[in-house]
Symmetry: none
Subunit: 229 residues, 2 copies
DNA sequence: TGGTTGAAAGGACTATTTTCCTGTAACCCT
DNA sequence: AGGGTTACAGGAAAATAGTCCTTTCAACCA
């Protein structure tokens, strides 16, 4: 079992479980906590654009108070440890794999790497001044890998490179993304701009022109997290 | 005795403590998590009308991810159990950490990604035909991370990208490498050719010329395994 | 059977949180 | 001294979560 994590999925699951442990529906729990009964509707957990909607920390405080649940209870439920009576009728539709467990790696700014004292003679990290970074910080259980084929993504991605893609990671301007169009074309690009109607995609090769795609022509978009080298 | 509770005060206190445990200010933690640096300002924790402002559960997920903190850490901090301050900032390098444990991720060739049947409507892996790849396949206990600074490695590496470097991994022609010269210059390049006397390094930007360095001028060379995106 | 209530989906609107922006102050480096 | 960066306060705009409202369906009861 991997370490429990705080994710959109696990938080909502905890809310459902808390409701069930108190013999309530999600709408009943919301009502009991003084929230609108539709607040926890499953239909509202993803926005119209598919973006995850997170319950607020304030709403969580209210449901804990209304049910008398403790901080321990909250973490237990987020961790997925439910009471037997409260077993939810799971919508489990595919087996989930745990995401890779992050470990801390020593971290140094590149600009400092030339200064003395950070590496020994063999090029191994040494001395003072190293920070830490979790690697790999991949929390998405539905993350997958794509193996690059061809030369069309040079110079960033070469034939045979592996890219790690997350369908649920937040995407911001400047992020490298995989986009599938409604026609079935799948491409790796840089998201330059997103409006309510179009997305603008820059090529990974700066010499190639940007491309604007209407959102209605976008089947899905997923963020690239890591690339092998 | 009541269990620790989830309140406006305890949640913000936990955020401050998480920052402190990583040697960061609140604004530094926000920045590290990809949030606006003003997001956790003390001045913004109560609204102009005195109403408490709660951090979102999404923001909490982001700071946990950015710091590698676990659900147990979150609970500990919300409960008010803090570690001594500054424990990890600028710490001496500690050798012999276990490398990240590889997990299998679904793998698909990019060229096949446009064909039907590999993704559901939301862009999640589905259907048959997926292979597996271990991620991250990093076996080197001395692997470390470098944080890219500046624009000199565009378009492959952008300012702020993290590259994972292995001093012990085998290096072959075409691999992306970090090289330190005897003079102390550290650079990221592509190893084009290695002979008994020289190495030839291509720039990551194909427009820039190759560079030949005598082996006696090379202090060390390490292979880049992964790059964040 | 008809009425009532709750559960849930979906849309519009409102309230709240985050982001963007500006300014000041402190600190560090050249 | 000047420039750059970070920390922090404060205001406006943008984004997001909650509320209100409507509709449909199911369960229950008289």
């Amino acid at each position: 079992m991997n370490a429990p994590i705080w994710t959109h999925e696990s938080v909502w699951r905890a809310i459902d479980a808390l409701a069930a442990e108190h013999g309530l529906s999600a709408s009943g729990l919301a009502r009991k906590a003084g929230l609108d009964p539709t607040a926890f509707n499953r239909s509202k957990r993803l926005g119209a654009d598919g973006r995850p909607r997170w319950p607020s920390t304030e709403s969580i405080a209210k449901i804990l108070e209304a049910t008398g649940a403790s901080l321990d209870d909250l973490m237990r439920l987020v961790a997925g440890r439910f009471a037997a009576q409260g077993a939810t009728k799971g919508a489990a539709f595919e087996p989930r794999r745990p995401p890779p467990e992050a470990r801390p790696l020593p971290l140094l700014g590149f600009a400092r790497a030339g200064a003395g004292g950070f590496f020994d003679d063999g090029g191994y990290p040494a001395g003072q001044g190293w920070d830490e970074v979790p690697f790999p910080a991949v929390r998405d259980e539905s993350a997958y890998a794509l193996s690059v084929t061809g030369d069309s993504m040079l110079p960033v991605y070469r034939d045979g490179d592996t890219i790690i893609v997350s369908p649920t990671a937040e995407i911001r301007s400047g992020d490298r993304v995989v986009v599938r169009t409604a026609e079935g074309e799948v491409m790796a690009k840089v998201l330059k701009r997103k409006t309510t109607r179009v997305i603008e995609l820059e090529s990974l090769n700066p010499e190639h022109p940007s491309r604007t795609v209407p959102l209605r022509d976008v089947a899905w978009i997923a963020r690239i997290l890591w690339a092998s080298q």
